[in-house]
């Protein structure tokens, strides 16, 4: 009896140890990625890296100003597409949709869409926008990224608005406000910080997307702010430089990746802090 008990305890210990070991193992790649980014990327950072355009192969120096500007521009465009669609759909799901069949179909589509490969979205936008404009364009890139943002924003908005207490809605109606004003002025404002979290996470996701940009925004070695022209971006630049045979470009790829990951991590941490502070105040 006693030996059986100790065997069970041993098995328990073994299983728990395995779980802990696997968890540690799962963290190793993250640590390694961050470590190498720090080791190889920091030395490539300089003022000119942020302000100068790329130089041709063979000339040293130069920067990625085009890619930084392009990424900001593209993410801005994506927000212009993704935020209104995402937030308003979320409002519909939370305030009007309920358990209705249409709302369920929308929810399900959003969930499914968040699993569609981003490269498929790229092909979709290519056939829709690039073919009809007859050229790669920043607009196409922004739309592709915007589509990828919608599911995240929609579902966070819905979840957050459902947490807004009904008493606030009742108070607004009791003041004689029509429903739509109550939603815009009271409900959305109450959920605003949570929705901002969702938007930040969505931005963090699309800022690093490469695949859908390859044949929508394409790439551009020069500065551009035109909607109907190709545009460079940080992830595409990292890709181009990483697969190139030039050591100097590799160095720049590490530096650009470091900046990219820095942006993404800051957004994630901010989003998490917002969530925690909200949880604490309630």
């Amino acid at each position: 009896m006693n030996s059986r008990g100790s065997r069970r305890r041993l098995k328990d210990l073994l299983a728990r140890g395995t779980c802990v070991a696997f968890t540690l193992l799962a963290v190793v790649p993250l640590a390694s990625v961050l470590l190498y980014l720090g080791a190889k990327g920091v030395s490539g950072l300089s003022w000119s890296f942020f302000t100068e355009l790329p130089r041709p192969v063979g000339e040293s120096g130069g920067g990625m100003a085009n890619a930084f500007g392009g990424t900001l521009f593209l993410v801005g465009l994506a927000c212009a597409v993704g935020i209104p669609v995402g937030v308003l759909s979320g409002v519909y799901l939370a305030e009007f949709g309920g358990r209705g069949r249409f709302a369920s179909v929308v929810r399900f589509s959003a969930d499914v869409m968040s699993g569609v490969p981003s490269i498929a979205v790229g092909i979709f936008v290519y056939t829709l926008v690039v073919l009809s404009m007859r050229r790669f364009s920043a607009l196409a890139g922004g739309i592709a990224l915007g589509i990828l943002m919608v599911p995240t924003i929609m579902r966070t908005t819905e979840e957050l608005l459902k947490l807004v207490p009904d008493s606030l809605r009742e108070a607004g109606l009791a003041l004689g406000l029509p429903k739509w004003r109550v939603i815009l002025r009271v409900v959305l404002r109450t959920g605003a910080s949570g929705i901002a979290t969702g938007i930040m996470l969505a931005v963090a996701r699309v800022a690093g997307e490469t695949a859908p940009l390859l044949f929508t925004a394409f790439n551009n070695r020069f500065w551009s702010a035109r909607l109907d022209r190709p545009m460079g971006s940080l992830p595409v630049q990292v890709y181009t430089y990483a697969v190139s045979p030039y050591a100097e470009w590799h160095q720049q790829a590490w530096a650009a990746a470091l900046v990219l990951v820095g942006m993404v991590l800051v957004l994630n941490v901010l989003a998490r802090l917002l969530t925690w502070s909200r949880g604490g105040s309630r």
């Binding site: 069970r8 328990d12 299983a15 728990r16 779980c19 802990v20 696997f22 968890t23 193992l25 799962a26 963290v27 993250l30 390694s32 990625v33 190498y36 190889k40 669609v85 308003l88 759909s89 519909y92 799901l93 009007f96 949709g97 358990r99 249409f102 929308v106 589509s109 959003a110 499914v112 869409m113 699993g115 569609v116 490969p117 981003s118 490269i119 498929a120 092909i123 979709f124 056939t127 919608v150 009904d166 809605r169 009742e170 109606l173 029509p178 429903k179 690093g208 490469t210 695949a211 390859l214 044949f215 992830p235 890709y239 990483a242 697969v243 590799h250 790829a253 990219l260 993404v264 994630n268």
Partner: protein
Amino acid sequence: MARGAEHRAWDGLDGRPSRRGESAATPARRRPWLSRDGEVNLGDLVFRQVTALFAAGTVLTLAAMAIQMTRASALSLERFGLRFLVGRDWDPVRELFGALPFIYGTLVSSLLALLIAVPVSLGVAIYLAELAPLWIRRSLGFVIELLAAIPSVVYGLWGIFVLAPWLRGTVEPALQRALGFLPLFRGTPRGVGMLAGGVILAIMILPTIASVSRDVMRAVPNSLREGALALGATRWETVRAAVLPQARSGIVGAIILGLGRALGETMAVTMVIGNRAEISASLFAPSYTMASVIANEYTEASGDLYLAALSELGLILFGVTLALNLIARLLVWRVGRLPGGAGRL
């Protein structure tokens, strides 16, 4: 999601027909914009329809994607039919397109990824859901989220310069010494190849499988755990006997979600898998996936048939991931509906 059922705040407030003014024949549900005295509030009507329109946008986009991609691949669908799936030649010059090497590369790299990622992520999920103290749960959960947040192209960069050299110098020679009698581990260790693709995919799908499995385990009612513990079960026995059986379909859903991600993942794989359209038994040999060939050749595809063939690869990818996601969501939702779950899904 769980609160969706009772959340019909507006209906009780102003959608209900007032006993005096309104005839009982007009059910209020169809006209929720009626205010109490039966007046139509135009603003509400418009607002509701506008939000509904945006909500419909997602469904329409999904449908439009299916239609557009089918149209884009029409030429190839017509010319090759089902032969496309079994053809081994990919020759733009002779206009011969067969997808088998890419399908093979995609499937094998994804299965390899599952083989590595499933045990590890289940270990993580069990630890996070059942064993870890609260502060570790929170902070480690966040670390796993960060793992998912690193852009694919950065994993690719790391794969080229850190993972592949390590595989070439350390892992692959060791595998060859130990298991070299298997055809899987023959050939020159190159670093870049199927194994590198599988490992990098495993890293990228681990957070998905781990966090969804953790959530379904949290959705298992606490009473089951308490019952098992009260019978004298150890923590591990509780997990095995009470938690895992209940969460099984959700965990399968999580794994399918991970598989869906692996199949469609593009950049990191493209950068480390070697990009050669060959079918080889060796895991050390270079390979090619459907997403990679699209990424590499779509902008350069000359000729309508070439472009259509690439689009058809995209269409297959789209269809397969759509189906996998559908199945996975249904499985995960089923666990989410267990009564009295310990955590919200």
